[in-house]
Amino acid sequence: MTDRVLKLVTGNRLHDGTVVYFAGSGAWTPQIDDARLVEDKDGAALLAEAQAGSPPHPAVGPALIEAVRDGRRIVPLMLRERIRAFGPTVAYRGD
């Protein structure tokens, strides 16, 4: 794992709330590994790009978060964002 902190943009998909990541070129993906990851200094530009476009915007509340690259995987730095990316840490009991 490299410990260089990079930036990506996340939000919740408008129509169903699913956690999504900005993949560039107007596209959003539920797969964090497909997110567009940029250097810290390019974060603001990435966020601006993610927010662009005419409504309805596909993601609610786009925000920059910190992540590191671990081989081909992308892992957010904060626990909150890891839980958003990988789901609750507890098994739930639906049927």
Partner: protein
């Protein structure tokens, strides 16, 4: 049970139609999130970490089997097959799609449920004793009064822009099972020397950032004057409550800053000045009687109060005996019992209930409890009217659905909010902490006796940690979860706020820390003392010391 009248039904239909149009405009990009947020919140729709979350109000925690089946269907059709019962006797669904929500609300309206007033600066769900109408120690059934206050408060024009949300609880028994002292306004139903019904009115309770217990404004307000008097209480708050500072906007801060005497004087002045308005708000006996008729007890069949057979079954099966001891309570009606359905099986998220479990409980309610179910503020369900002769059969059927853990009131019957696994406001996780603790303490929980552990994932205190015998508050320190622990809190009639035992501990130290606190209690307790009794007698020092020595 109260049923909607034509007005209620039409109102809901109109609201859902408006909401459907709002969702359509949001999805079409005609409404921004900023414009839409308050509209969705008015219908109980939040945006959480993983998805939209729908909070549905369960008025005073009372459900019919039809309503519970309606909730099961939401879980199955539109969510991931489960829901989460909260400490405010509501239910939340965690994986809701915005585009489905108008259909969900239409479906809920058919069983007389909705998500209105589950957010924002409004009157929230009015809560009460989950054993209302059946508890042996009850003075009068609180539900008719809950419904009367609900109707008075629902979309009240004068109070539709309160400084902040407003929570009301009503208790009507000698035990306080509604935690009235941690509510903005608490009502204790009383009977005076002349045998008349009235209410002790308390204000200014609440947890969160500034935990405060409610104080008494008036010892006894006659039933007839209830609505007029609480109107005066609200009017003083509406006028002086802080709208400029979110952290100071609750009524508890107003009462604290004025002092209870000054607040009381303001209320009494207002009340005196209300004049004819008081008559308009008077609650005639006939109106109360009409509402009471809606909550008439079911047609119990005569049942012998002969427990011989029950005792034989208990003697033959210790597990059944333990369940009877822990999960049933005395009923007003001879030959009947109140049954608490545990939603705290070991190692499962507290308060979660799957769609098929909801259907099982609904089915059991139909066959064994006159179609009635209650939700408790400690996140369990209740079958309020079970014939004692049916208890064994019920126990088997609940057990088959993993709903018969015999742990009510014990260490593994933990209250925990959703915490960082779901909640966007959280600073730390609650559920895994609860799971680790319940697994660890379950083995000796019978020896420990009654113990309330309450866990919140942030300062908002939805898990009521301040009033837990042991309270745990999840915080974040330098990017890691840490937990502040309190002891000696209680939400009973002798409510108390817990004292902090020391610096916050890391997630992997919580179980060992709680273990030491429990050991300290067991070492110090005298015969029959519960945790808060021992704490009241010995104070915080021995608990602090036990942790300090361990460090």
């Amino acid at each position: 049970m109260y049923h909607y009248d034509e007005y209620d039904r039409r109102f809901l239909e109109e609201r859902v139609a408006q909401y459907r149009d709002q969702v359509r405009r949001r999805l079409a990009g005609q409404l921004s999130e900023d414009e839409f947020r308050s509209l969705r919140l008015m219908n109980g729709l939040y945006l959480q970490l993983h998805a939209y979350m729908l909070r549905i109000s369960i008025p005073y925690g009372t459900l019919s089997s039809a309503k519970l089946r309606g909730l099961a269907e939401v879980a199955r059709r539109w969510d991931k097959g489960y829901g989460h019962f909260t400490t405010r006797q509501n239910i939340q669904f965690n994986w809701i799609h915005l585009e489905d929500t108008p259909d969900i609300l239409v479906h809920l309206a058919t069983v007389e449920l909705h998500g209105i007033q589950t957010s924002g600066n409004s009157f929230r769900n009015i809560t009460t004793d989950p054993f209302a109408g059946v508890a042996a120690d009850e003075i009068d059934d609180p539900r008719p009064y809950c419904e009367i206050v609900r109707q008075w408060s629902a979309l009240h024009p004068e109070f539709s822009f309160l400084p902040r949300k407003f929570k009301i609880a009503i208790n009507a028994a000698s035990e306080d099972r509604a935690a009235v002292k941690i509510h903005d306004l608490g009502l204790n139903l009383r009977r005076n020397a002349a045998g008349e019904i009235g209410f002790e009115v308390l204000v200014g309770g609440g947890l969160g950032r500034t935990p405060i217990l409610a104080q008494t404004v008036r010892d006894f307000v006659p039933r007839r004057e209830l609505l007029a008097y609480i109107t005066a209480c609200l009017r003083v708050y509406n006028q002086y409550g802080r709208r400029d500072n979110l952290f100071k906007s609750r009524i508890k801060i107003l009462v604290q800053s004025l002092g209870i005497e000054k607040y009381r004087a303001e209320v009494e002045d207002e009340y005196a000045a209300m004049g004819a308005e008081r008559d308009a708000l008077a609650l005639p006996d006939a109106a109360v009687a009409a509402m009471q008729a809606q909550f008439a007890p079911p047609a119990y069949r005569e049942a012998a109060n002969d427990d011989a057979e029950l005792r034989r079954a208990q003697a033959a099966e210790p597990e059944f005996a333990r369940w009877i001891e822990r999960n049933t309570r005395p009923h007003k009606q001879a030959g009947h019992a109140i049954v608490i359905v545990s939603l705290k099986p070991l190692g499962r998220p507290t308060g979660d209930c799957s769609a098929s479990q909801m259907e099982t409980v609904a089915e059991l309610a139909d066959t064994l409890s006159f179609g009635e179910v209650r939700v408790t503020h400690d996140q369990n369900l209740v079958l309020p009217h079970v014939r004692k002769s049916a208890l064994y059969d019920l126990w088997l059927r609940l057990g088959a659905a993993d709903l018969a853990t015999p742990n009510i009131g014990l260490a593994s019957d933990i209250i925990a909010c959703p915490g960082l696994d779901y909640c966007s406001l959280a600073t730390a996780r609650s559920i895994p902490v609860a799971q680790a603790l319940s697994r660890h303490l379950a083995e000796r929980e019978v020896a420990i006796g009654p113990l309330q552990i309450k866990i919140s994932g942030c300062i908002n205190a939805c898990g009521h940690h301040h009033v837990g015998h042991i309270g745990i508050l999840g915080l974040e320190k330098n990017g890691a979860e840490s937990y502040q622990i309190t002891v000696g809190g209680s939400d009973s009639a002798r409510a108390a706020l817990g004292g902090i035992v020391g610096p916050a501990v890391a997630a992997d130290e919580v179980t060992a820390t709680v273990d030491r606190l429990v050991d300290t209690y067991l070492r110090l307790r005298r015969d029959g003392e519960r945790f808060p009794d021992t704490y009241r007698r010995v104070g915080l020092a021995p608990f602090k010391e036990a942790l300090y020595v361990a460090r």
